[in-house]
Structure formats: structure tokens, C-alpha cells
């Protein structure tokens, strides 16, 4: 019975079974292949497309640090601005109203259309249409609501003091990266590192969830040793003198005596860092640290220091400078006139070439050079400012009397104005050489390079130079001033140019307890008055007087006999 039931009515042909099986197997195989194709072979592609619809990377902006002066006044601040960029293929199709868009961006319609078309043709996905727009421009563009037009936040750096701080601070490029000056030197510190976060967005574009975040680290602030008020005053005075004398340029450096904090560092000609279009490369140079000058007579005090150090001379040692000229080898060095017998202070006060040459040649060959090297000449001073020049000293072991003689009064040597100020700081601070400080939290590095007695003796002599020597123009009422003038011929092609000079003055005050050291250089003043005494010394006096007033340094000189003695005028500035 059971065998009968099991017997099929009709036998199924084997081929039908085979066909059915094959069809099902093929279908299953196709599904498997498709699965592998989607999940393995093209996985990245689909993952990407999925993510592209839901995942977004957002940048977290990071400010560039603020640069401020020693009292916290801002000197450079980055402010966010709106920049507009386009996705060229989309924008080209959007058949935008170029005239309106151009008007709101401040570009001509044709140029704009061309730019977008060209970018679209070359297959670019990104092109800036306008950067650092004003809020009005940005909202005008926004109002157009064009497809393929996007906004992004960028930073623009502003310098409230403009050209006054231009050389020292330098500037940044349009991407807010330091290009010159301290902006370049401390770029790594100032620059913020933008962060990123990966977020999940809903269909409506709302951020739902944050998946991962790389935190932004904002740029560090930079507090300088600069005093914005002294800087501004020094700039004004320098500019006035350069303009009045028709000079080609000039520099002034104001240091805090002892620590060599840079209180002011100004140059002419200058540039406005807020306006990149008007910048001229030759005006961007920070002359006070990059340009080499022959310091001329301002180097004589160091030759005198070498004489005192040798022990062969005392401050009151007499030197015979008659007949007002001295022959060294084939060269003859002259004085302005025959000063006869001079003591060392007298040599400085009259700025006697003969006296200084006579003294220098009587010393061991390397002694003057050794002092010059110790007070910081001939090598970079380590200010950290870009382009800092090291200057030139004749090589060690120079025995040639002519080279030794010229070096003794500041020729055949080249220095930067900053080096000159630092060397005078040695005289002002009992023989200690300091590394200049531009940034306030840098360590103070000082080194004893001259015996205190030697430095003090020379400082005292420098007081007589200002009191009744060649530098009476450097006097500042109420203060004892020590300093020295220099007038250097400018060497060009074919040797020294007869009618081109550089007026130099370096000094410090109040001499009883120096607070500031100042070096000024005026490059090629035109006209009758070109000497250090006539041009640079009065400029020094104006900057020095202004600095004393701004810093509130008490007067140390005996009051002028004719002065009224009623009220103390010395005002205390902010410290």
C-alpha cells in the first residue's frame, strides 16, 4: 500500500530538475556576486557616498595670537573676515547675474564671468571670488543666494599703529602667515592650528552628533618689550628729521639700559603694513638690524676703553696730537685742527682722529679689536629678528697699522644701529653686554665683557663730550647725557663718496644712573648740515628728552642757573 502511494504518477524528467537547479544556482550566484561587488569591491565608493550625504568635516577656526607692547596695548590683532568662494561648474550653470555679483564684490562683471568660466573649463572645484570682504559686501553677496557660491571665515591682521611699528612687527600674507619681522620670527608661536571635527548631519543639514574632534589650538600671544608711546614718539622725531634734511633714510633704537629691552626701534622710509598694495620692497627693510653702516667716530670710545684696559693709560694720560695729522704708512689721518696736548677725555670730546690713532697704535695689535669683539661687534647679536646682520670686523691677528688705525676710529668696520646701541649699553651698564630682548618673557642674558672701572671711566668721558665737546647738540635739559657723535663717509663704488655722509649718534642718559641707551643714524642728510653733531645729536636729544618724559625718569642734572625754581615738573609716566 505504501509502495503504491510512493509510486509517482508520471516520472519527472531529469533535465527539468537540472534546469531548475541551474536557474536557482545562477540566481543565487548573481546575488552573491552583487553582494561581494557592493560590500567588498565597491565598498569604499558606497561608503563615501553615504558619508558624503551625512558626514561633514567642519574646521574649528584658530586665531593668530595678539602682539602687544610692554603695557599690553595691542599692536597686531587678527579679526575674522568673510571670504567668498565658488564651485565654478555649479556657479557657471547658475547663470548668475554677474553685474550684481561683481558690484557687491567690487570686481567688474566681465572679469568675474571670465574667471568663473575659465575655472570651470579647467575643472577646478574651488576658486576665491573675494577675500576679506567688509560686512556690507558679505551681506550683499549673501542676499543673492546663488548656487555654487559659498562663504568662509578667514582672518585679517590689523596693525593699529600702522607704519610706526611696521618694520619691527613685519606683516602677514593674506592667509595670515608671517612674512616679515616678528610676525615671521615668531610665526610658529603666533599661528593657531585650526582644529577639525567630524559630525553627522541630518537630512535638513542640522548637525546631530559629533563623532570625533581634533581640538583647535589658538595661536599664542606675544608681549613685546616695546613701549608703544616711546616707539611712536621716536618714529615721529626720526621722520621729521629725515624729512627736514632730505635724508635717504634713518634708524633709531631705544634700549632700556642694562637689560637691553628694545623700547623702540624705528626706521625711515617706512611702509604701512595695513595696506599691502602700497608696499615697496625697499621700504620694508628693517634697517636698524639689517643694514650695515660704518660707525665712524662713535667707535672711538671703545678704542679708549682698550687703552684703559691695557693699563698703559689712565683717564688723565696726555697724548700729543700736534701737528693735527699723523702719517701711517702711505696714509695720512687728519684732525679738524691742531689740538696739541689732549687727555683721553679730550680726545673723545674733540673727536681727535690723531689722538685715537696714536693711542691705538701704541697698544698691542689685537687689543682694540678684542674690545670691539667683546662689546658685540662682528657677529649677530641674537635679537631674533629676521635678517639680522652680524657686521664686519677686520680678521683677528691683523697687524697692518693702517687697518688698525682706521679701525680705531670706526672705519673698515661695519655694524648695525642695533649693535651700536648694544655696545653703548655695555658702557652704560658697568661693562655688561646684554642680548637684546624684543619679547618680554625671554630671559635676560648678560655677560661681563669690560671691567666696571673701565666702562665707568669711558662713560664719564662721554659726558664731557656732550657737556662741552662735539656733541653739545645732544644735551637734554635737566639730564646728564653721555654720548658720542660720528660722521662717516659713505663708501660706494670706487671708494668713499666725498659728498655723501651718514650722521650717527649713540649715547645714554641719565648719566648718573642710565635708564635708556639710544642710537640714531641718519643716512645721507642733504645740504650744509650733515654731520653727526649737527643732525644726529639733536635728533638724539629730542628722542632722549621725549623718552625721559614718557618714562617719568627723574632729572639728575643741576638745574639751569637761570631757571625758575618753583615747581617740580617731572611727571611720572605709566611705568
Amino acid at each position: 500500500m505504501s509502495a503504491r502511494r510512493a509510486q509517482p504518477a508520471r516520472p519527472v524528467p531529469v533535465w527539468r530538475l537540472a534546469v531548475a537547479l541551474t536557474v536557482f544556482a545562477a540566481a543565487a550566484g548573481a546575488v552573491a556576486v552583487r553582494l561581494v561587488d557592493l560590500q567588498v569591491v565597491n565598498r569604499d565608493f558606497y561608503q563615501r557616498h553615504g558619508d558624503a550625504r551625512a558626514l561633514r568635516t567642519q574646521t574649528i577656526a584658530a586665531h593668530r595670537g595678539i602682539i602687544s607692547d610692554r603695557h599690553g596695548a595691542p599692536l597686531a590683532v587678527s579679526v575674522p573676515m568673510v571670504s567668498v568662494w565658488a564651485h565654478p561648474p555649479t556657479l557657471a550653470q547658475a547663470s548668475a547675474d554677474w553685474a550684481t555679483l561683481g558690484a557687491s564684490l567690487g570686481v567688474s562683471a566681465d572679469r568675474l564671468a571670465q574667471r568663473v568660466a575659465r575655472a570651470a573649463d579647467t575643472g577646478k572645484e574651488f576658486v576665491y571670488l573675494g577675500r576679506h570682504l567688509t560686512p556690507e559686501q558679505a551681506s550683499a553677496v549673501q542676499a543673492l543666494r546663488l548656487d555654487g557660491l559659498y562663504e568662509t571665515t578667514e582672518y585679517r591682521r590689523f596693525y593699529p599703529d600702522g607704519e610706526v611699528t611696521g618694520h619691527l612687527l613685519g606683516f602677514t600674507n593674506i592667509d595670515d602667515q608671517g612674512l616679515e619681522g616678528l610676525e615671521l620670527a615668531y610665526d610658529g608661536h603666533l599661528q593657531g592650528v585650526p582644529g577639525k571635527k567630524w559630525v553627522l548631519r541630518s537630512r535638513t543639514g542640522e548637525t546631530i552628533r559629533e563623532l570625533h574632534q581634533a581640538a583647535a589650538s589658538p595661536g599664542g600671544d606675544l608681549r613685546l618689550t616695546l613701549d608703544a608711546r616711546v616707539q611712536s614718539m621716536a618714529y615721529r622725531e626720526l621722520k621729521a628729521v629725515v624729512r627736514a634734511t632730505g635724508a635717504r633714510g634713518g634708524s633709531a633704537v631705544v634700549l632700556k639700559a642694562g637689560t637691553a629691552d628694545v623700547l623702540a626701534l624705528v626706521n625711515q622710509p617706512a611702509f604701512n603694513p595695513n595696506n599691502r598694495e602700497t608696499m615697496q620692497p625697499q621700504n620694508v627693510r628693517n634697517r636698524a638690524v639689517t643694514d650695515l653702516i660704518e660707525p665712524g667716530s662713535t667707535l672711538k670710545p671703545f678704542s679708549i676703553a682698550a687703552a684703559l684696559e691695557s693699563g698703559a693709560y689712565r683717564p688723565d694720560s696726555k697724548v700729543d696730537t700736534a701737528p693735527g695729522l699723523i702719517r701711517v704708512g702711505a696714509k695720512t689721518f687728519r684732525d679738524y685742527r691742531n689740538y696739541q696736548q689732549l687727555d683721553l677725555a679730550g680726545i673723545l670730546a674733540k673727536s681727535s682722529n690723531v689722538g685715537v690713532v696714536r693711542v691705538a697704535l701704541s697698544l698691542e695689535p689685537g687689543e682694540v679689536r678684542s674690545v670691539l669683539q667683546r662689546v658685540g661687534f662682528g657677529r649677530p647679536v641674537g635679537s631674533g629678528m629676521p635678517g639680522e646682520a652680524g657686521g664686519f670686523l677686520p680678521p683677528e691677528g691683523t697687524e697692518d697699522p693702517i687697518a688698525r688705525a682706521t679701525m680705531a676710529f670706526g672705519y673698515g668696520v661695519s655694524v648695525t644701529p642695533l649693535q651700536l646701541a648694544l655696545a653703548y649699553n655695555v658702557l652704560a651698564s658697568e661693562g655688561q653686554l646684554a642680548v637684546p630682548r624684543v619679547v618680554a618673557d625671554e630671559p635676560i642674558i648678560r655677560e661681563q665683557v669690560l671691567a666696571p672701572e673701565v666702562a665707568n671711566a669711558v662713560a664719564q668721558m662721554l659726558e664731557t663730550v656732550v657737556a662741552h665737546g662735539t656733541a653739545t647738540g645732544a644735551q637734554v635739559p635737566g639730564y646728564r647725557v653721555a654720548g658720542k657723535t660720528g660722521t662717516a663717509h659713505i663708501s660706494g663704488e670706487g671708494g668713499y663718496q666725498n659728498s655723501q655722509y651718514r650722521a650717527v649718534f649713540a649715547g645714554f642718559l641719565p648719566a648718573s644712573s642710565p635708564e635708556v641707551v639710544i642710537a640714531v643714524v641718519v643716512d645721507q642728510p642733504q645740504g650744509e648740515r650733515y654731520s653727526g653733531g649737527a643732525v644726529a645729536a639733536p635728533l638724539f636729544a629730542r628722542i632722549a628728552g621725549g623718552t625721559m618724559r614718557l618714562l617719568g625718569v627723574p632729572a639728575d642734572a643741576a638745574p639751569p642757573p637761570s631757571g625758575e625754581r618753583a615747581s617740580l615738573w617731572a611727571t611720572r609716566g605709566r611705568q
Partner: protein, 91 residues
Amino acid sequence: MRLSTQLTLLAVLVSLALSTAVGRVLSADANRRAYAELRTLERDRDALQTNWRKLLLEEGMLSTPDRVKRIANEQLHLRSPVPADVHWVVQ
């Protein structure tokens, strides 16, 4: 185990499962709300920071020594003292 105990256990487990499911939904919602608030606060913070920088810059622009001097000279007719103006007190 008796049938009633088993049923009770099942009921407890089912209610637990349901309540955690609801809890999950609620917490996801709370999380989303909190995140939205965080975003708003972050935006506020950024806006304030930006504003602070702008004000700082504006203050800097208004108080540059150059501008102060110009106003002092031209509008208030102040000038720096010359030596003749200086009176001395000798103690």
C-alpha cells in the same frame, strides 16, 4: 519552576526591555538637545570672542599715541613742554 513564577519573570523582563527602549529614545533626544545647546553656546562664545577682538582693535586704533597726540595738539591745543616751561624744585 511554577507557571505563575515564570509568567511574572517574563512580565518583568518585558517591562524592563520596554522601559530601556523608551529610555534609549529619551536619552538620545536629550543628547541631541544638549548638543544643540552646546553648539549655540559655542557659537555665542565665538561671536563674543570675535567681538572682543574687534573692540580691542578699535580701542587700539582710537588710542594710538599718534592719534592721541594729534587730538591733544589740534583740538585741545596742548603741547610738549619746552625747557623754558620747566620749573625746578630744589630740596
